[in-house]
Amino acid sequence: MITVTINDREIKFDKAVTILEAARSGGIKIPTLCFFEGLEKFGGCRLCLVEVEKLPRLQTACTVMVTDGMVVRTETDAIIRARKAMLEFLLINHPLDCPYCDKSGECELQDLVAQYGAEEGRFAEGKRRHPESFDDPIIVRNMERCVTCTRCVRMCDGVQRASAITVTGRGDHSFVEPFSGGRYDCEYCGNCLTVCPVGAIMSRLHRHSYRAWFVEDEIETLCGFCGVGCSMILQMRENTILRAIPRMGMGINKGLLCARGRFGYDIIESNRRLTTPLVRKNGELKAVSWAEALGLVAEKFSEIKEQDGGEKFAGIVSPELTNEDNYVFQRFFRETLFSNNIDSIIRMFYAPAQAYFEGIFGQGITANLISGIGKSDAVVVAGGDPTKINPVLGLQVRAASGNGAKVVSLSNAAGLKRFASSEPVARSGSENFLYSALLKALIDTRGLPGRSGSIEQEIGNIKWPNDEEITQRTGLRKSDIEKVAEDLKDPKNISVIIGPDIMINNGLMGLFLIAAIIYVLDARIYLLSERPNEQGVIDTGCMPDTLPGGRPLEISSFREKFEQEMGYGVPGQKGLTLFEMFEAIGKGDIKAAYVMGDNPVFNLPAADRIREAMSGLDFLVVQDAFLSETAKMADVVLPAALWAEKDGTYVNLERRIQRLHRAKKSVGGLEGWQIIAGISGLMGSRMEYNSARDIWEEITRASHLYGSVSYEDLATDKSLWPYKGEPLRSGKWEIKIPEEVVEKTGHGCHVYPDRLLFHSGSFSRYSPALNSIQAEPYAVMHPDTAKSIDIKDGDRIKIAAANGWSIELVSKVDNEIRDFSVRVPNVFEGVCVMSLVDYGIEPGTGAPVWKLSDIKIEKVQ
């Protein structure tokens, strides 16, 4: 036990802490400037100086540890004089431009000078001059104001681990700069903005548009750009978002954000938002009233239902919408339209992958805490770059590496470049050969654990490819794979992170090989999740074959119990999966579709075929915040509210339920559930909801999975899997496992969708801020690929697929693309890379099996 006396108060500790932490825990304030919770200690600003008895000089409270019997004083005349002197030194160079500095009002230097002085400076030297830098589209740098506390550099090096900025120069020529000296060209996480105590590094988005004290309200809500579920605060004035900021320590992101979360909020205020419903009249979309639009939908839907029945409808929900929206949608489809044809884009990866792993290992196997990755002693990454798809989760991989963990990256993961201990990347199309070789090597080094007879039996059935075949297909040497197996020989606490690209070439065989690797490593599974509520779509029963809570609807005891409890009927036969729906639409078996918050004719493989099929629909309703490619084809377009305009819940990739809080009222848009309830009421099935909370209560009744989690329980441990609810099923499913490792494609170039750090699917293209970082699509490829087709960096190229579709864009040569694929982001209008690929349907899970045709690339003059 350590006893310290601070300002005549005795405080006891059972472990050594710094004087600053000791004082703060006792409610005693010590001023700081360079100190920031969570960053490496620095002791540079000398403002936390305190007197320690028996030590001759003043000590920095932020770095000196307490010892038993230490007597500390924090505010004596000598200390106050010292702090005043420190501030006087800072003010030699810090400009007195508070009247037009955006930081004024929340500036730590301003606050300290207000408290301690110095009112007058005694130094006659002029201030250092360094012109403000506007080289960057997002971040403005004013290094005259910098007090060299280095918080930003410590954040960038030690937490974000991007190391994009540094202190250049020395003495009074010290300035914080990125390598270029101009544009940042970094990950634009903006975490340096959070920590800058003065107005030296600031966001350009709201420059000179308001003062800190204009903020009327702060709403704590969730970011709507990916499945991590970061908490953030929206600062509001009237009905306008002034900015999005994190709060240190808050939420699972603990105060960190990525570029999308921090700067993408301007999408809410975009002038391209839809503000009124549109109805197609004489071939053109015309603005109409809500009453007219909803009336038309109800009338048409009633007509089709009466004539043809519920199976003629297709419903597409969205992992961007809340549980409440999606739950009400499935109720509308099942109760009002009597149809189980409900699915969403998570059929591409998240849903089938989760079903597959749960089938092998048991339910909830993917519900692992993101913070656990940082504590692992080895991390294996396959099928995508976590630092791009789920940036804040990606930081945990970097943190693990910083703690000495072995990081093995089996896919193109540029964001893990300095952090991976090995990066065996197979040539595109041959990933399964790499996975099988790795599995075999791991069985050799670690042995089979003997926990599951059935998995080991399946492993025993694999027809292993031989070494020459592996080298020939993957381009990797046997020693590369042996090194990975050696790295993974001893670790006990391993995380395996799986991204969406795993589905592209590898199909179920890839999933099985990864599952077997997980089994041999006894690892935790993390599924990367591109959109904020992918898990919620599954949990709220927006699947063709399951009820809310994940119970199979074809088992009549489950269905009947559900119908009895909820008071509405559910068709007994499972509906069509997403891709089956498009097949059915193409054949004319489906007449009407309701697309809620997604853009399938742009986002799904064989986008052109899907577009063609959709154009044959009798009636298409699209609910969206923007006039997307799909909305442009619709008969009725209904404007929707976005996440900052909603109450409700999201479930993140850890299966943690979190609450959204409405920050502003949508201009013209309505929440998904409001629109659906409106249509349902007009069709004769009234839904009595007044708020998202009412729906949440109904969901907890409908889904035994959520048990009795009330709104108040969210943000407690009850909102974490398994929610203290009933287990839904036990035992394991029969899983079909292919035996042979085969290559899906030839040896040519293949085009892959690139997952960008700065964009979130086709949705974030409406954010001016994110577009200012990246507004143009590009085709990125390895120098060898570029050389083989005679393309140089920056050339304008045309990529044509065998199906006749082509796109035109600029090439970018990057040796980080190690698998000889050509990667194009599927984000920007007019450049739909998904139209260049085709798919088949995997019968077990309904997942698309990608067919990558060889592409032709030529230079455009």
């Binding site: 190391s163 900025i165 250049t168 020395r170 700069e177 390598f179």
Partner: protein, 154 residues
């Protein structure tokens, strides 16, 4: 141009230290010794060779006075103007160079023959004023001696 030979030398230096980071300074010296200065491109290359973020390399390179960030002439004249040399007339010598070669402190002659750098004390206070031309040390300077010495550098 960073030659294969330099790259090889830097790769060897990596092994001399427990972490690659420690090799930054000697790698920079290696390049400056042949190039005469450190271009942005050179810093980037060092970062790639040592697997260190480029910004970190730049931070190191700009901290130390003796790394040069502008192209230098073939010969670098470094004159001390600290107290002892100043009293003994170092500033006159700086004026002389300005007159004779038209170079200011930090500048380079048009024919790239000389660059002038004002440096801190080189420990020759007893025989001030003193200067370095490239790595050669010269003291007890006066105007004539300076011109004689510099005539030997083409």
């Amino acid at each position: 141009m960073i030659t294969e030979e330099i790259i090889k030398k830097i790769q060897q230096k990596k092994g001399d230290y427990p972490v690659f980071r420690s090799a930054i300074m000697s790698a920079l010296h290696e390049i400056q010794n042949t190039e005469g200065w450190l271009s942005q491109e050179s810093l980037y290359k060092v970062s790639g060779m040592l697997n260190i973020p480029p910004a970190t390399v730049k931070g190191v390179a700009t901290f130390y006075h003796m790394y040069r960030h502008v192209p230098m002439g073939r010969n670098i004249i470094q004159i001390c103007t600290n107290v002892a040399c100043m009293i003994m007339g170092a500033e006159k010598l700086v004026d002389l160079l300005k007159r004779e070669f038209g170079i200011e402190a930090g500048g380079t002659t048009g024919d790239k023959r000389f660059s002038l750098v004002i440096m801190e004390c080189i420990g020759a206070c007893g025989t001030a004023p003193a200067m370095l031309v490239n790595d050669d040390f010269h003291d007890n300077l006066d105007e004539k001696r300076v011109m004689d010495i510099l005539n030997g550098y083409k």
